[in-house]
């Protein structure tokens, strides 16, 4: 499972090989739709629409821009279910050439460790690549770990926090957004990059590209197809979420009804003054 030894990075079977960029994309609940259940303080995520994680979309946008300048192939790799597939249509409409998804009911609750093992196996099965790109973080779990873990499992270097990623005269150049400095690096493929929000604004696909996306291939695998046993993967789970709750909000919640606006406003100004909020 280390993958360091028998990975063939570039396709050798065909005569012409186009370098490939793999983008790891994930669907998450739309946080603008997630409401907190006031009695349990739990986020109601099941009812929210699922969308591609914003940073993964930016990773995809960066990959598509490299494809546009240097003629690469862009594929996405995900783990998920039917809802994920709907989100993948957006990735294909943006410009990905093909999508791979690992879908297995047994893997629904696995942690980042097990997820990374599955994704690394899927990336290997999908074929040779130059670069893997993913978002630095997904906003649901906020784990920030699948990218570096996959890089370690595949035995390739990582270029984290990229706010620029491009090909210049055949070389991969990235600008990393670090604490005190911006670090410009040249990375030799294969490598994995994670991107931050500043990297780009993802495109909105045209109607024509949305139609075309429906004809692009989505390859689906289960754990077995990757040579993995679901129960073994589940045995790799190390982190279990016991509970997710909104912190208790201790606000005064004084509601002033504005039947007479001047009165309501005067009341508010008085409150603000007595709180020392105005100066």
């Amino acid at each position: 499972m280390t993958g360091k030894d028998k990975c063939v990075w570039r396709g050798k079977s065909s005569l012409i090989t186009v370098p490939r960029i793999v983008v790891l994309v994930k669907d998450i609940p739309d946080l603008n739709e997630v409401k907190i259940d006031t009695s349990t303080r739990s986020p109601m995520v099941e009812s929210a629409k699922r969308r591609l994680n914003d940073l993964d979309k930016r990773a995809l946008e960066a990959a598509i821009r490299m494809k546009e300048t240097a003629g690469m192939e862009v594929v996405t790799v995900s783990m998920g279910d039917e809802k994920t597939k709907t989100c993948l249509l957006e990735a294909l409409a943006m410009g990905a050439d093909a999508a791979y998804i690992v879908s297995d009911p047994a893997l629904k609750w696995v942690d980042a460790h097990a997820t990374s093992l599955v994704l690394a196996a899927a990336i290997r099965k999908a074929g040779a690549f130059d670069v893997i790109v993913s978002g630095e973080l997904s906003l649901d779990g906020m784990g920030s770990q699948v990218g570096p873990r996959v890089a370690e499992l595949l035995g390739i270097p990582q270029v984290t926090y990229a706010k620029e990623l491009k090909i210049e005269v055949g070389k991969y150049i990235a600008v990393r957004d670090l604490e005190d400095v911006d670090e410009v690096v040249e990375a030799e493929p294969p490598f994995l990059a994670t991107v931050v929000r500043e990297i780009n604004e993802p495109r909105i696909p045209s109607l024509m590209n949305i139609m075309k996306a429906k004809k692009k291939p989505i390859t689906e695998w289960n754990a077995e197809a990757l040579g993995l046993k679901a129960d073994e993967i589940i045995a790799f789970v190390r982190v279990v979420v016991s509970d997710v709750k909104a912190p208790e909000v201790s606000r005064k919640r004084v509601m002033i009804k504005a039947e007479k606006i001047e009165e309501a406003v005067a009341k508010l100004v008085f409150m603000l003054e007595s709180e020392g909020a105005l100066e």
């Binding site: 946080l31 603008n32 739709e33 409401k35 986020p43 914003d54 942690d111 980042a112 460790h113 906003l139 649901d140 779990g141 906020m142 784990g143 920030s144 770990q145 570096p148 873990r149 370690e152 270097p157 990582q158 984290t160 926090y161 670090l178 604490e179 400095v181 911006d182 670090e183 410009v184 690096v185 040249e186 990375a187 030799e188 190390r238 982190v239 979420v241 016991s242 509970d243 997710v244 709750k245 909104a246 912190p247 909000v249 606000r251 005064k252 004084v254 509601m255 009804k257 504005a258 606006i261 001047e262 309501a264 406003v265 508010l268 100004v269 409150m271 603000l272 709180e275 909020a277 105005l278």
Partner: protein, 307 residues
Amino acid sequence: MHIKTLIYSENTELALQLLGKAIQLSGAGVSAIAVDGDQASILVSSGAVKTYLVKDHSFDALRAGILDVVAKESPELVMFGSTKRGRELAPRVAAALKAGYSGDCFEAEQVDGGFAVKRLAYGGSTIASMMIKGKPTIISVPQRSFQKPETQGKQGEIIELVTSTPLSKVKVLESRTKKTTDLGLENAKIIVSAGRGFKKKEDLKLLEELATELGAKMGCSRPVSADLGWMDQWVGISGKKVAPRLYVACGISGTIQHAAGIRDSQLIVSVNSDESAGIHQLSDYSIVGDIYTVLPALTKALKERLK
């Protein structure tokens, strides 16, 4: 509890906070990894029994050094500081060790069968409680989560670690010092913020007038910036997190996205005509009313107050 702990952060202040927590968790037996001699002596005198010194600060050397020390010390818990460096090293080390990892934990306790930790989830709107099992358990910890050890002047061992790593395939071409970033909203004392209650861009002048009267900076909710493009930066999970003395939300409904961004405000005031809008639950004072009439009235009242 008799467990061994290993700590690492290139930021000495944060490393000391990790050390404080590690001493509390393990009683004794804390090892540390330091990046220079000064840091090593500080950690030793503050209570680290063994401090390994890694002089090569490249990612690969640190990764190899940490794995080497884990093999030598076999700790139950490895704590990284949640700096950018720490957050890129920790998951990679975790993968190499087939270990469980949870990032940005602001609480960590040893319990039966592992460690119980707390961290933010869903963009910071909620707190997730998690159990990590397996040896070692790896976590990263943000600034100011734990107290530094009180004691100083302790004795310990400093061991220089020689790591040999192959030449990195990632070549640093240039390091550019960052220009000071715009600290406008994050440091503002008072913020007035616009939401979808504003029907057109021109109407933002109502907000502007209020801002002038209050001496406030202006912000907005995500849709006003990201969807409508009326303002550059928004307040929220994916935007700016703010902590002013006074936050005035005008025509903002109060999604999770926005709530997480304003949570650290001292006083929250909202104006929204919808009595059932979530923003009222997040506010200290709210006026149920139309921003188009309430904001001018509020501006006027504030103006008169100053006379």
